[in-house]
């Protein structure tokens, strides 16, 4: 393996954080409040526990097949034919999630930042940037995500400012657990979709070389960080908004920031959308990356796949943004896609690898 290609612990940590952060955070409080009112934050907690379990499954796969990428691993376990089929399904799945994220992102930018700019122009800028970065492969992309972590600072600042500037109503959080355990668990599905993006871990096999226990610790730490951040944001939103209003607002986090005002700066929400663009674009890049990775390994063929996939995402986005039917269709497919690609396949592969006693032999 070439030097400088391996990922460090910090890079993996920040990579997972950036993968999970993104568009989901802005509308998460609204989605959860609709289902479980004041108990929204418990659903986030449940979701992050589920993510932790999934991360352990991914880690076991990585441990059993060190240095293997996910697309090789499927073929080792289930044979070339089935393995390739799974890879193609994975590719389609990641592409669908990526396109859906892209549609939401373009709409958000169009709604908040650039109302008169046509969709094709916004989408073009985003996709060209994404393709340019993803073509460089993992190592460069990981370094980019490390630099990108600077965007976490404004989030923390704004949370602190909101704590002191906006009148809070802590009574909105009571009664704790009043919605019942079952509905809280059911609602955690919404939160699960907001923390998606950690699938990138399936593909880091060839780029890590560290003790397995350290790897798991890094995974867990990143997941805990995101869970904490999301819980703080959701709790803050519940306290700031009245339940009725929170159910109406599409992006509560932005509305909360919009109500802040200072002598020197107004409408910080617009600045925030602008800053938040980078993590949101990063999630599209991640799906573009892992979609391409699930077909091709490295080198020229990988780069061609990235470019082709980017074009496909771009065309799909232009045709389906602001079309209610297309969005509904996506919403319906998406659920099954996520369950299949993110949870079912890795679990099945892990079980099969134990049953068939398949393991990578270190050479």
């Amino acid at each position: 393996m070439k030097n400088g290609r391996l990922l460090t612990k910090l890079q993996i940590y920040l990579m997972i954080i950036q993968a999970q952060l993104g568009l989901g955070m802005l509308s998460l409080p609204n989605i959860l409040e609709k289902q479980v009112n004041q108990d929204a934050w418990i659903s986030v907690l449940v979701a992050s526990v589920l993510v932790q379990m999934t991360l352990v499954i991914y880690w076991l796969l990585l441990k059993r097949f060190p240095g293997c990428s996910y697309h090789e691993l499927t073929q080792i376990i289930t044979g070339p034919f089935l393995g390739k089929t799974i890879n193609i399904v994975n590719y389609a799945g990641y592409m669908i999630i990526g396109t859906y994220t892209m549609i939401l992102l373009v709409q958000l930018v169009n709604d908040w930042l650039l109302p008169f700019t046509p969709v094709w122009a916004i989408a073009l800028l985003i996709i060209v940037l994404s393709m340019y970065l993803v073509v460089q492969d993992y190592a460069v992309f990981a370094r980019y995500l490390v630099v990108l972590s600077v965007v976490l600072i404004p989030v923390f600042l704004l949370i602190i400012i909101a704590l002191f500037q906006i009148p809070l109503e802590p009574r909105n959080l009571r009664p704790v657990g009043g919605e019942g355990v079952l509905s809280i668990i059911r609602a955690s599905e919404g939160a699960l979709f907001a923390v998606l993006g950690f699938e990138i871990l399936l593909f880091i096999g060839p780029y890590v070389h560290m003790k397995n226990s350290k790897l798991l610790r890094t995974f867990s730490l990143a997941n805990a960080t995101i869970a904490l951040l999301y819980i703080v944001v959701v709790v803050l939103c519940i306290m700031v908004f009245s339940p009725d209003v929170l159910k109406q607002v599409r992006e509560p986090v932005l509305y909360m920031i919009r109500s802040l005002s200072f002598k020197a700066v107004d409408r910080i929400d617009l600045l925030f959308v602008f800053i938040w663009l980078s993590p949101m674009t990063a999630s599209i890049m991640i799906y573009l990356l892992i979609a391409s990775k699930s077909l091709m390994g490295e080198g020229k063929s990988f780069q061609t796949t990235v470019l082709l996939s980017g074009v496909i995402i771009y065309i799909a986005t232009i045709f389906s943004s602001y079309s209610e039917e297309a969005l509904q269709l996506y919403g319906q497919i998406l659920k099954y896609v996520i369950y299949t690609v993110v949870f079912f396949f890795p679990t099945m592969l892990l079980l099969l690898s134990y049953l068939l006693k398949k393991k990578k032999v270190n050479t």
């Binding site: 109302p115 009043g178 700031v240 009725d244 209003v245 509305y255 919009r258 005002s261 409408r267």
Partner: protein
């Protein structure tokens, strides 16, 4: 060569932007008024103060504002109508204050403000105020040097820091008028001698003005009961021996505790405990027995607060948030209780403790 050609072309082609707008093309609206129309009760009379900013060279800017009015059934149509008369694009992004006539406010203010929340351009930190009589009367006052909306805005800010009215903006109002467990209050303005004046607080039941008001002295007491103090809060207490003359106590610290209990037969008792630390700031008769002065203050404040509570219950307005207390502590009972009719029967007990801790520079 190709690179430089590309750069050159970019320079020529990529200079535009769909979303750019020049300040000189816009007409900033800095105050809006809504009234019931005199001629037709189904119409709303809207008035705006539009700023015309002209640069006069040498860094000096001339600001002139003009009054435009229109009568239409809804807010959206008023805006549309006013656009026709305005030389430039109507811009509500800097609308600092919205005046609402009291007759119109009795029909509900939510439909009037909704458009400011929904649109991307509405300015959330702006203030809203109820006007005794016609709102347009205040908006049409002509000031010598600065637009009238700025004068009123400064008046409202001063009243906020003097604890005459609570600190409010469109965002916090929105979160209260949609919540059936708590009610909002809005500043009440009055035109006296051709000058706008803060006359107290207008009491609301949900989004409807009840027609009942608190004067400025009662407003301060209400805000003390809510633990919602501004920078300075003063109360004036008559001497026991000579009730004509009053001494002034400034509130330094406040401890508030609201304890609501629902008994088995669904009768609600609410106890409000206040511990007030004060500073004696004006003592014209030179009373020296601080203990008895504090006791007198306790007596007077309790009596006046009871009056305020009686007004609130009569008006069916709940700015103290007793409904919120019931709903969060007794969720089961809350579902059963008909709050609309029950609020009048809530027994509100007051327990006020006053301490005079400082006496300024004199003994």
């Amino acid at each position: 060569m190709i690179k430089s050609m590309f750069l050159f072309l970019s320079l020529m082609l990529l200079t535009g932007c769909w979303d750019q707008e020049n300040l000189s093309d816009r007409r900033l609206i800095n105050g809006i008024s809504f009234d019931l129309s005199d001629d037709d009760p189904n119409l709303i009379q809207g008035g705006v103060r539009a700023l015309n900013i002209k640069s006069q060279g040498g860094g000096s800017i001339e600001v002139k504002d003009e009054l435009l009015t229109s009568e239409e059934p809804t807010i959206g149509e008023i805006g549309h109508e006013i656009k026709k008369n305005l030389p430039g694009r109507l811009d509500v992004t800097k609308t600092f204050i919205i005046f609402i006539g009291d007759e119109l406010a009795k029909e509900g203010i939510d439909p009037l403000l909704e458009t400011f929340y929904r649109g991307n351009l509405g300015y959330m930190p702006s203030k809203a105020a109820i006007v005794k009589g016609k709102a347009i009367d205040i908006l049409s006052i002509n000031e010598e040097d600065s637009p009238i909306a700025f004068r009123v805005l400064n008046g409202i800010r001063a009243a906020e820091s003097n604890t005459l009215i609570p600190e409010l903006n469109l965002f916090t109002i929105w979160n209260k008028i949609g919540d059936e467990r708590i009610d909002t209050v809005l500043p009440l303005l009055e035109k006296t001698n051709d000058k706008p004046e803060v006359a107290g607080l207008a009491l609301f039941d949900q989004d409807k003005y009840t027609g009942k008001n608190l004067d400025t002295e009662q407003s301060t007491l209400l805000l003390i009961m809510r633990d919602d103090l501004g920078y300075i809060a003063d109360v004036f207490i008559p001497y026991e021996q000579n009730p004509e003359k009053k001494y002034r106590l400034s509130i330094m610290g406040l401890k508030r505790e609201l304890d609501t209990k629902v008994s088995k037969d669904d009768s609600i008792t609410s106890t409000l405990r206040l511990k007030v630390k004060t500073e004696l700031n004006a003592n014209p008769l030179g009373g020296s027995d601080l203990k008895s002065m504090a006791a007198q203050a306790e007596k007077v404040m309790t009596k006046r607060m009871e009056e305020v509570v009686a007004i609130l219950q009569e008006a069916h307005s709940d700015p103290l948030g007793i409904g919120m207390d019931v709903a969060t502590k007794y969720p089961e009972e809350w579902k059963r209780i008909n709050w609309e009719s029950e609020y009048k029967n809530v027994e509100i007990q007051l327990d006020v403790k006053v301490d005079i801790e400082k006496t300024g520079g004199l003994f």
